[in-house]
């Protein structure tokens, strides 16, 4: 079961990686944080099915929630990626503005 969960988590990481493309190296740490939290819960859902507390049918709403959490994570990673671009652009802009200020006669 743990191997399957690792595989599912790996597939989730690939899904997120595909959505962030070239920003993956900068975002993989936050994705890892998100997915590590997820891993224990996937195990818990599997255990609840195995001990009979949940059936495959009654587990479905919980899996739908997991899907929504994944959507939130992908959105979060895309926001963080844009934030990094915005930070970089703002730093570049500050350099430019400072250079122009220096060049302008007082």
């Amino acid at each position: 079961m743990s191997f399957e969960i690792d595989e599912i988590i790996g597939d989730m990481a690939e899904a997120i990686k595909g959505s962030v493309k070239e920003d993956w190296p900068d975002t993989k740490d936050v994705v890892k944080q998100f997915l590590d939290r997820r891993k224990e819960r996937m195990k818990l859902i599997a255990e609840l099915i195995l001990k009979g507390t949940l059936t495959i049918e009654s587990a479905k709403p919980y899996l739908d929630i997991e899907k929504k959490l994944l959507e939130m994570e992908i959105l979060g990673v895309s926001i963080i990626t844009k934030a990094m671009a915005q930070n970089a652009a703002n730093k570049a802009l500050k350099v430019l503005v400072d250079a122009i200020k220096m060049a302008l006669p007082v």
Binding site: L44, I45, A83
Partner: protein, 156 residues
């Protein structure tokens, strides 16, 4: 041949510079700026959810225990109202569409939890309570983790 006058040239430079700044200011607004009051509101929501699940874990015999859906319902609505408050804050922020969508998804998650609890009438299994708690707390964690990485405003 009409060459621009020195004063005209200076005004042209100013116009180009201001246009450049204007273009940059739009280009650099991809996400909202970090807002400490949004983090504070997420923390408040997390505290409400934490209290809710702590009470649920603590006592199964008390008739007011939120293990029973009737007692739990006000907590679900408190959490949803707290999240809606975050989205009202987002409405006043520039470029906050993706952040708002994230909060709307968190509201959907709490609503789904409420619906499951309502169908079951009671949540007594500790592992099932742990699953509910984990999913709700994770939604709030994602909101916080995202907000905390937004760019900070820099003083000119």
């Amino acid at each position: 041949m009409n060459l621009p006058q020195p004063s005209g040239l200076s005004s042209l430079k100013k116009t180009v510079f201001l246009s450049f700044l204007l273009v940059f200011s739009f280009a650099c607004s991809l996400v909202p700026y970090y807002d400490a009051s949004v983090i504070e509101q997420i923390e408040e929501t997390t505290a409400t959810a934490d209290r809710f699940y702590l009470l649920m874990e603590m006592d199964s015999t008390d008739e007011d225990s939120p293990r029973a859906y009737e007692a739990a319902e006000p907590f679900y609505y408190d959490i949803i109202l707290d999240l809606r408050k975050i989205n009202r804050m987002n409405n006043y922020r520039k470029s906050s569409e993706a952040s708002s969508k994230q909060v709307e998804t968190a509201i959907d998650i709490v609503e789904a939890q409420r619906s499951i609890h309502s169908d079951l009438e009671r949540l007594d299994d500790r592992d099932l309570i742990e699953l509910h708690r984990g999913q709700t707390m994770d939604a709030l964690y994602i909101l916080r983790a995202t907000e905390s990485r937004l760019p900070k405003r820099q003083n000119p």
